[in-house]
Subunit: 196 residues, 2 copies
């Protein structure tokens, strides 16, 4: 499912989309930053995206209505696809509460080039952490459609990995995810070599 | 102007946006493909974007009205910024007829990390080449707002490079652009080392 099967794209290293989903405050970006560092020191091409970054630029025109949130994830998935196509490991941290949107993101990249990571923490814990103060604002009615408060979070049914940040420290979560990425990259590279 | 000045981003290789502008049929993508190959064999991280690729995915929701075309370029510029931030050389081929949009794209990346390339060919030549048959359709009134036909192309005032594809073969255009990229990357790396 390469967008642009030019000669050079076909010879590229395989890319990978690592999609971290979970409630706000569950630890998605914290884990992604730690994983990024660990891959980076090994000189593996890696980049990281999250909602805050995209809403500063590409998605600055979008609001927080259900339609705006859906379009936010659609564009994130399309950008992730481009990075995968470019041969990078793309760490995407998005609440992405709807299964359908996560399945859409998966559908954009070649079979196997997508890892869904459920970053799990109870709503109570996330409200307690509330790193951006958003739960407080949502509970006060100041942010509508907030996931966990007045929008449902649809738990992943069959994610490649579940990381429970109430039970495991961040460093252990990151280590598990790096292992998962390494294993997957081995498979993808093997397939690429067999094809090439 | 890093979006996300994380530790790993600051240590990355500098990225570069190479923005190829010019009429449809001027040779932007043909040059970009050749440059991509030449950089790729040297193992330089490079990726290529153009309007056709983006309109298959990220920009599939956009039409060809003036507003749709402007939003197409805005998103292209924002995606280019992400690739620059990721430390890649991003070759962006977009007619991008308005100076203001090209200046917007330039404004998103750090000083020096943007090369504007004017791929020049006369309208008569482009109409004669008409690789996609679009000029024929536009002249028949079937594509509105087509650049060169019923929308003005604003020539670059001070581009880093002009490549005239009526006077120079593609291989020579590509060679000149690779030289320009190499020179610019030398400066950017030097600056990064001095900062770091």
């Amino acid at each position: 499912m390469l967008i642009d099967p030019s000669l050079s794209n076909q010879k590229r290293q395989p890319g990978l989309v690592v999609w971290l989903t979970g409630l706000s405050g569950s630890g998605k970006t914290t884990i992604a930053i730690e994983v990024e560092k660990r891959l980076f020191v090994r000189q593996i091409p890696v980049y990281r995206l999250d909602g805050d970054v995209l809403r500063q630029g590409l998605n600055a025109d979008l609001g927080f209505s259900p339609a705006g949130r859906k379009e936010n994830i659609r564009r994130a998935a399309e950008v992730a696809r481009l990075f995968e196509n470019a041969g990078l490991i793309l760490l995407a941290s998005f609440i992405s509460p709807q299964r359908s949107m996560r399945e859409f993101a998966r559908s954009l990249v070649p079979e196997g080039a997508f890892i869904e990571v459920y970053v799990q923490a109870s709503l109570e814990t996330c409200i307690q952490r509330d790193p951006k103060g958003n739960y407080q604002r949502a509970l006060a009615g100041k942010i509508p459609n907030y996931t966990g408060i007045d929008q449902e979070y649809e738990e992943p049914v069959n994610p490649e990995l579940v990381l429970n940040t109430e039970k495991l420290p961040i460093s252990a979560c990151a280590a598990r995810l790096v292992d998962e990425i390494d294993n997957r990259m081995t498979v993808l590279k093997q397939r690429k070599n067999e094809e090439g």
